[in-house]
Every structure is written in C-alpha cells, then in structure tokens.
C-alpha cells in the first residue's frame, strides 16, 4: 500500500496481535439505501426551498417598499428641519446685527428706567426687567395687567403735568412746549435759555437756570414716550 515504519515494539506484540485479530465490523446492508434516502431528502428540501424563495420575494418587496417610503419621508422631514436650522458656516451677518440691535434695545430700556426716589408714588413706576426677561425673544416685558397699571400710572402723570401747567397759568392747555415758550423764566431767560446771566461762547448758548421741576418732568414725559414707542 504505502511505505511503512516497521518498528513495532516487541513489548506490544500481544496487543498488536489482538487488535489485528479483531473482527471487521461492516456497514449494515441497508447502509446505501438509507444514505440514498437521506440524500434524496436533502435534495428535495433544496428544491422545495427554491419556490419558497420566489414566493417570499413578494413578501420581501412589501416591507422593502415601506422601508423606502419611510426613508424618503424621514429625509424630507429632516431636510426641512435642516433648512430651518442655522448653519454656522452659512450664517448671515444680519443675524449678528439683529442680536446687536436686541441688546441695544435692552440697554436702552434699562437706561430709560426711572430711578427710585426720582418720582413720587403716584408717578410711573417702571419695574426693572429681570435678566431672564431681557434675554427672552419676546419684546413683552410684563403681563397685560401690569401694562394696564403702568398705562394708568402714565395717565396720572400726564394729568399731573397738566395740573402743573394749569398752576403756571393754564394758557398752554396741556402743551408743555407751548407752556415753556410762554412762561417767562424766573432768571429772565427766554425759551432757548438765553438770559441776562447767559454766557455766550462762539454761538453756543449755555443754559444756566430755569424751572428745574418743569424740565425734569419734560424729560420724564419724553422718556415715557420713548418707552411707549419702543413697546409698540
């Protein structure tokens, strides 16, 4: 058969002889028949799988179509969202300007606030907005009820101004500018502040006196108007 290594140990002669003398076990007579049956079973199982595959193909197409539709819808929704989202690489300078304007507006609002002690309890009291309110997107700083209160306070302030005007003569009929023009200054200055004590430097007139309370009130009215304008 093939090359042998005939070096069997003499010590194991008996064992080797016993093993070689063991009867040869053969396959059962139905071995080939059973094998053929098993192989036929395997082949028929393979053939049965083929039509099943084509049948299943249709069943696979439906979920595949549904999946594709889902992907398309998801793509569309995500696309819209991404269009709405700000791309940091495509951001326009206007965004920064807008933010700057907003911060400027907030700063103005803070500057326009009337400090406590400057006005009486009947005057307009603008509550200082909180940091949260200033950072918010809504320009509204307070609730509608508070707005109404402030409006009423403003009305009271205007009425008081009118009363003051009336005390001054009542000829201005609520027009502060007119009142100022008509009212003579106690220091002899005209409506532009030029008076006997005015020192002129090359055309610049420095106002040195006048009715302080009226000026203050006028400044407050202006500030209120500005606030009202900004809130609109």
């Amino acid at each position: 058969m093939t090359k042998r290594y005939d070096i069997e140990d003499e010590n194991f002669k008996g064992v080797i002889k016993s093993l070689k003398e063991l009867p040869r076990v053969t396959a059962p007579p139905d071995f080939e028949m059973n094998l053929r049956r098993k192989l036929n079973g395997l082949n028929s199982a393979r053939e049965r799988k083929k039509p099943l595959f084509t049948f299943n193909l249709r069943n696979v197409l439906i979920p595949a179509g549904a999946l594709a539709a889902t992907v398309v819808l998801a793509f569309l929704f995500l696309g819209r969202e991404s269009a709405e989202l700000e791309n940091p690489f495509m951001s326009k300078p206007s965004v920064r300007t807008q933010a700057h304007n907003e911060s400027m507006q907030n700063e103005q609002k803070q500057n326009l606030l009337i400090k406590p002690g400057e006005i009486s309890s009947t005057d307009v009291v603008m509550k200082k907005p909180s940091q949260k309110q200033l950072q918010g997107h809504s320009p509204r700083l307070s609730s509608p009820a508070k707005d109404a209160d402030q409006m009423a306070a403003n009305d009271r302030l205007i009425r008081r101004l009118r009363e003051l005007n009336m005390q001054d003569g009542g000829s201005s009929n609520g027009d502060i500018d007119r009142s100022l023009r008509e009212k003579p200054s106690p220091y002899g200055a005209d409506q532009y502040g030029n008076g006997p004590n005015t020192v002129n430097f090359d055309g610049f007139n420095i106002y040195q006196g006048g009715d302080r309370s009226l000026e203050q009130l006028r400044a407050r009215v202006d500030s209120i108007r500005r606030i009202m304008r900004s809130r609109r």
């Binding site: 058969m1 093939t2 090359k3 042998r4 290594y5 070096i7 140990d9 010590n11 194991f12 008996g14 064992v15 080797i16 016993s18 093993l19 070689k20 003398e21 063991l22 009867p23 040869r24 076990v25 053969t26 396959a27 059962p28 071995f31 080939e32 059973n34 094998l35 098993k38 192989l39 395997l42």
Partner: protein, 193 residues
C-alpha cells in the same frame, strides 16, 4: 461506463464526481469506504448504531462538500479526517449527555473479568475476548485510541495517520506507543497466561 469507473482510483473518482457531478462515482467511493470507516468509527466510539450514523453523516458531508477536497491530498486521508472529526464530536456529545464518562481516566485500572468463571480458558472464546478488548480500547485516552486504531486496526501507515490527524510522524509514533501501553495494562488479565 460503470466498469470503467470501477477501474479508477479514489482520486480519479472524486475528480469525476467534482467535475461532472457523476453520482455513480460517488456511489463507488461510498462502496469502497463504507466498511473500513464503519469499522474504524465502531472501534473508536464502541457503538454499532452510532458508528453507522457517523459514517452516513461522513458520506453526506462528502456529497455536499465535494469541492472542498483538493487533489493534492489523498482521498482516504480526507474521508478519514471527516469521519474522525464527526466521531470525536459524537463522543463529546455523548459525554455531555451522560453525567459520567465511560472513560474513567485512570490509566492503571484494569478490566474486570465478566465473572468468576471467566478463566483464561474461557477467555479463549473469541467473542468474549473481543468484547473485553473493545471495552479496554474505549478506556484508552481518546488521543491515543484514535491513532492506535488507525495503525493496528485499520492498518494505516504512519504517514497517513499523520496526514489525517495533522500531527508529526514522531508524535504519531509516540502516541501509538503510549496507547498500546495503556491497552496492555488494561488487558493484563488476558495476557496473564
């Protein structure tokens, strides 16, 4: 055609089966190897029905994976390798199934005689002797048993055994001698005389 095929060697037959899917070539190889493989697997696992199933599985694997055979190897070593691996798997499966193995692992243990009347004269009876040898063989360590059966029962060469097991010839010889030594210890009662 059939006569022509029967004259072909194992390697030529499997080439014919691979190239032309000739089932007759496959059947011829089954006829040639069913008995040697059954004998080998039976001596290895010690169960007739199990050995038949293992050999049938071997043939099915051969049929399904015929293309995995490469022409540079001998067909006998290829088919023996499949059968050996399947037989080992079967033994592992049986060991898992049974709580205790038929192989105790105690090499010095000797085979108990069937009964007190089993004197050497009685043991001369070949059937009982064969049964005892088979029992002893099943107690030899698996790695030794495999090569001892291949060498002393199947009459395979050391080269073939080395090719089947993937071991060096030196390791094969060593394992064969160790297996024989174990078997001799186990069969002391038989060789007392």
């Amino acid at each position: 055609m059939a006569n022509n095929l029967s004259e072909l060697s194992d390697e030529e037959l499997i080439s014919e089966f691979q190239a032309n899917n000739n089932v007759e070539a496959f059947e011829l190889l089954v006829k040639r190897y069913k008995d040697p493989l059954t004998n080998f697997v039976y001596r290895f696992v010690g169960d007739r029905d199990v050995s038949t199933d293992v050999v049938q599985d071997t043939m099915i694997r051969f049929y399904l994976h015929k293309d995995s055979y490469k022409s540079f190897a001998r067909f006998s070593t290829w088919i023996y390798t499949i059968a050996t691996n399947l037989a080992k798997n079967e033994l592992k499966r049986r060991k898992r199934k049974n709580l205790f193995s038929i192989h105790s692992g105690e090499d010095d243990e000797t085979i108990d005689l069937p009964d007190k009347s089993a004197t050497p004269e009685v043991l001369a009876d070949s059937e009982i002797k064969n049964r005892i040898i088979q029992k002893a063989l099943s107690r030899v360590k698996e790695v030794y048993r495999e090569v001892v059966i291949m060498r002393d029962v199947q009459d395979l060469s050391y080269e073939e055994i080395a090719e089947i097991t993937g071991l060096s010839i030196g390791t094969v010889k060593s394992r064969i001698n160790r297996g024989r030594a174990q078997l001799q210890k186990l069969l002391k009662p038989i060789y007392k005389e």
